[in-house]
Structure formats: structure tokens, C-alpha cells
Amino acid sequence: MEALSDEFKLEMQRRMLRIRAFDERASKMVKRGHIPGTVHTSIGQEAQVVGATMALGDNDYMTGNHRSHGHPIGKGSPLGPLMAELQGKAAGVCKGKGGSLHLADFNVGSLGESGIVGSSIPIAMGAALSSSVLGRDTVALAFFGDGAANQGVLYESMNMSGVWNLPVIFLCENNQYALSTPAHTVTSGVISERAAGFGIPGVRVEDGQDVLAVYEAVSTAVARARRGEGPTLIEVVTYRYNEHSEGLRLGTDYRPADEREAWLQKDPLVLFREHLIANGHTAEEMDALEASIVAEVDEAVAFSEASPWPDASVAFDDLYTDSEYAA
């Protein structure tokens, strides 16, 4: 892979920091009742999110799952409307109708999260089908978890996109748990190795906390897809630092006591900060960058707080394109 520019790397760190700061704030807001429902944070998984989203071009598409507000941030979506969406405000990116589980920002190619685990995988394949039929050069990437990897639709999608040689990437965010369930107790075989039987390459990124490793794997798949060589399955091994969702308190210790500690030692933000410092940046620069991101999140919250609630009538819009049928 060609060397990445310093500015590009700084932008990687910036986006990872943005996800962390945004999600940490969102977590607090859930606990204080300032965000309705709950949120599923990407805290701990930022390298995997940013390594993948920054390997995509501006016109490329992606779909996500319940744990996907990091993803539009990674793809460059402005924070204010995302935060407003989490709060259910009128200025939300989905007018307050989607919420944390169903963020979408079509402006950056984010075709939406799915609260239904696995369900958005074939949507990404469909976006790749559009590219293919219409002769565009866009690619599409589906994010999903280790839990979602046991939904049959993934294999239907790998097969169909294999047959049709579609420019799609299946990216499994293996954070080793599906809610309370350890992946190894419900997964027979190795996820990335499932690709071979469907005639497509399968790649496993063992160090999903290394943003450059993820970036490289995804870039390779993107280039392949753009060359018309078809789909790739990528499994990235990572870890979520928080509970499955904010506010959820599970009764059992489904995660070994010291496991989280060990993964905290591999915090992707710390690792990449060190990398940047080793490559000519100062600690002060990094501190300043971090502070600027916190300020960005403050602004996003202010933007959201300033927004009114959506008017009750908004609930009755957007079901159909011809509003005559709306109730």
C-alpha cells in the first residue's frame, strides 16, 4: 500500500477521537435521561470503524447495524444532526424518527443502520448492484457483528454478490460478544473462513485496534471491488469497552474479569496517538487535537439542545412519497 499522508493520518485520529467523544457524551446523556431509549457505543472499536470508513470514497455506500453511530462519523457526517437524532429532535438527521438505532445520512452514503441484526447486509449488496447495473464505480460496504454473522442472509448475500461479481465488502466487526453471548459459544468454525466456500476472499484482521491494519485490509478489498473483481469478506477482531448498550446491567459476568482490562491496554486511540507522536507530532499537538474534538461535541450538543422537538404531525410524514396516502 502507498504511504499515507500525514494529514490523512491526522484525520484518522480526528475521526476516532470524534467517535469516542461523541459516544462518551451520548452514554452520559442516556444515563441522565437526556437521550431517550438507549445507545450502543463503538467505544473500543474506533480503529475498526475509521479504518473501514476512511478506506471508502465519498460516493461509496455503507450500511450499519444497531451499533453504528460511529460509522457516519467515520464517513464524515457532521455531528450536530447526529446528536439531535439521538435526542429525537427536529434537527435530527432523520427528523427524529430514526434515533440511535436507525441513523442514516445519505449525504455521506450512509444508507442506514438496521436495528434488526443482519438485516442491512443485503441492502449493501443492492447498492452494489446499482453500481454494477448502472456502470458506476461506487462500492458498498456492510458493517455487521459477530452475532449477525450467523444470520443466513449473509451467506445468501455472499453467494449472490459472488455470482454477480458485485462491488461489495462484508465487514464483520467481531467484538467477540453478541449481547451476553460469547462468540465462540455460538460460532462453529471461523467467520472469515466462511468466504472460501462462497468463492470469495476472506480476510481476518487480527489486530482490529490498529487503524492502519484495518485501513489496509479494507482498501485492498475496495480496490478489488472497483476493479470489477467482486466481493470480499473481512473479519476484524476487536472489543467493546462498554456494556452492550448504555444503562443495561446484565446479571451475569459473561465476560471474564480481566479480559476488558487487557483490551484497554490496546486502546486504539492511545495506540495511534503514540504512532503519530513517533512520526513527528508532539504530545501537545495531540492534546490540542483531543481538546478540539471535545469542543466539536460540545457544539453538537448545543446544536441539538437548541433544536425544538419535532412537530407531532411529522410522525405522519414520509411513509409514502405521495403524501395523499399518509393517514
Binding site: I123, G126, V133, V153
Partner: protein
């Protein structure tokens, strides 16, 4: 005008739409070999060539047997610039793709605050009455009426099939069309011009003053036959085909019942939570004061479909059942008497 069968009319609408807009593609199992008869040429494949010859494999997408993947792919494609027509062959296979239909196709536009539009048509045939057994005889359209965000059409004549399908393809919302295979061979003169039958506009097949029959899909033909028979007994029956169930032409139905005071609703689906129940409830709420008699539903019983011809034939509403229902609401028990007073 050309005499077209119901199936031929569907093929014609697909061809017109493919010609009119390059973004229209067809996705489905066995569409390449035209197994289900709607991806051939204008009339026969021999005459005008088949769709693969005409439009190529880029736009005619023969698929693996992966209904969930197919529907999801079509949804994703519809959100990003294509206008897919999905051939799901039998209605009984829709269940395979239920998550995609309900959670993605129906909800995405709404959830994302209008960012998505979903111009996609899902075609499927209801194969009831042909001794194919319980796995190929479903008539599941009522389920989809319960899912806001989908539109549902149930054409009962070749020209409605052509005109409604064309509207469906050209529409920016997802449409499910349920095609009763009992109608496939039905023929009539259909315009060769492009035309569009609007959604939400019922068709009054026959005007009458004593009873309104609202009939759905293949039941329309049965209802018309019943109306003929009843006319001989002096009962004047109005027969309405809603043509689209979502949106439903409430006004046409309510106006008619306000006039006749009596309603029989006929459909081939199972009774409980069917479209007939919905229409009955609508009328019982909106024009109650006009009603002179109970509202009677004539539907399939709440029973699965048996294979044996000796068993299956009794499972769907037929002319006789409809005549009996009309007699019940008009109070006529003796076929030769004129309109009785009961309920008046």
C-alpha cells in the same frame, strides 16, 4: 386494442416499463427462461424474442433461490437508483423474505426521515385452486395490508393488471402485487397504448341498488356471475373491485353501501384478519346508519389448503356462496320471491 390474457398483460406492462426507463430491471428465479410467462416477448417469445435477448443479462437478473437476499438486494438497489421489478413467483415464498419486506422495504423511508425512496415492485402469483397443496396455495395479501409503508394491488382483469402494474413500476413507493393464477388465462381487449390505472380508485364492474358486493382478486369473476344469477331473481347487485387494497378507495365503498344499505364482501384469503373484515369494519364504523342488514363475509375458512381436488374445491368462495350471502342480507330465502322486507 389487442386481445390479451391476464398474464400477457403483465408481460406487456413489464416490457413497456423496461423500454421506457433504463433503470427498470427484473430480478427473480427462472426469469431468464421465462418459466412463469411474463418475461417473454409481447405475445410469444418466438415472435418478438425474450427479455434476455431484448434487455440483456445486466437488466434481467436470474437469481439463486435466496428470497431474502433477492428482496434485500432489490431494496438496496431501489434506494440507490434502480427501479427493480422482483418476480417472487409464488406468494407462498414471500414469507422467506418477510424481514426484508417489513423491516427494510416498508420502514426505511419513514425511519430515515424521507431520505430514502423505495421504487420497487414485488410480483407474486397466488396459486390457489390448482391442487398444489398447502405450500403453494397462500393468499397472504392481508398480512401486508397490516404493514404501513407497503402498497398492495390485486388486479382482476387483464387491463387492470397492465395499467396498475405500470403505475406500480413508475411509482416511487414499494408495491406488492398479488396475481391470482386462476385469472392467468382470462382474456380481453387491452389498449396497445401505454396507460396507467391509478392506485386508490375502485372499479365498479356493475351498478345495482339492492346490495353492494365488494370482491377481491379472482372473487370478482365469481361475484359477477352471482350478480347475473341474482338479477334473474330480481335482486339488483352492485359489484365493486377495489383493485388496490392499500391505498383503499374508501369513498367508493362507503358511497355504494350508503346507497344500497347492504354489504357482502368476498375474497379468497382466510377469514380472520382478512381484507373482508377490514372493509366490513370500515363500513360498520362509517355508514352504520345506512345499513339495513348484517354485513356478510364470504371468504376461505380459517383452514390450510388440502391437496386433494375432492377437498380443495370447497375452500374458496364461489358463485353459490355469494348468492347465498346476498340472499341472507336481502332476506330472500326462496329464490323465486322478490326482495323481502327483512332488514328494510
Amino acid at each position: 386494442m389487442t386481445v390479451m390474457s391476464f398474464l400477457g398483460a403483465i408481460g406487456a406492462a413489464q416490457k413497456e416499463a423496461m423500454d421506457a426507463d433504463e433503470r427498470v430491471i427484473i430480478i427473480g428465479e427462472d426469469v431468464e427462461a421465462n418459466v412463469y410467462g411474463t418475461t417473454g416477448g409481447g405475445k410469444t417469445r418466438q415472435e418478438t424474442g425474450d427479455f434476455v435477448q431484448m434487455y440483456g443479462r445486466n437488466r434481467i437478473r436470474n437469481t439463486p433461490i435466496s428470497e431474502e437476499g433477492i428482496v434485500g438486494a432489490a431494496a438496496g438497489a431501489a434506494m440507490t437508483g434502480l427501479r427493480p421489478i422482483v418476480d417472487l413467483s409464488y406468494s407462498s415464498f414471500l414469507y422467506m423474505a418477510m424481514d426484508q419486506l417489513v423491516n427494510q422495504v416498508a420502514k426505511n423511508r419513514y425511519m430515515f426521515g424521507g431520505q430514502a425512496s423505495m421504487p420497487v415492485v414485488f410480483r407474486s402469483a397466488m396459486f390457489y385452486g390448482l391442487n398444489t397443496g398447502a405450500h403453494h396455495s397462500d393468499r397472504p395479501y392481508p398480512m401486508f395490508m397490516n404493514v404501513p409503508g407497503l402498497k398492495v394491488m390485486v388486479p382482476s382483469t387483464p387491463s387492470d393488471a397492465k395499467g396498475l402494474l405500470r403505475s406500480a413500476i413508475d411509482m416511487d413507493d414499494p408495491v406488492l402485487t398479488f396475481e391470482a393464477c386462476l385469472l392467468w388465462g382470462l382474456k380481453e381487449e387491452v389498449s396497445d397504448e401505454e396507460f396507467w390505472v391509478p392506485f386508490g380508485v375502485a372499479r365498479t364492474h356493475r351498478e345495482g341498488s339492492d346490495v353492494t358486493i365488494v370482491a377481491i382478486s379472482s372473487s370478482v369473476q365469481e361475484a359477477l356471475a352471482a350478480a347475473d344469477a341474482l338479477a334473474e331473481e330480481g335482486v339488483s347487485v352492485e359489484v365493486i373491485d377495489p383493485r388496490t387494497l392499500v391505498p383503499l378507495d374508501r369513498d367508493a365503498i362507503l358511497r355504494s353501501v350508503a346507497k344500497t344499505g347492504r354489504l357482502v364482501v368476498v375474497e379468497p384469503a382466510h377469514r380472520t384478519c382478512g381484507a373482508a373484515g377490514e372493509i366490513s369494519a370500515l363500513v360498520a364504523e362509517e355508514v352504520f346508519d345506512s345499513l339495513k342488514a348484517p354485513i356478510v363475509r364470504v371468504t376461505a375458512p380459517d383452514m390450510q389448503i388440502p391437496f386433494s381436488p375432492s377437498l380443495e374445491k370447497q375452500m374458496y368462495p364461489n358463485k353459490e356462496d355469494i348468492v347465498n350471502a346476498v340472499r341472507r342480507v336481502t332476506g330472500i330465502t326462496n329464490p323465486t320471491s322478490t326482495l323481502a322486507a327483512a332488514g328494510n
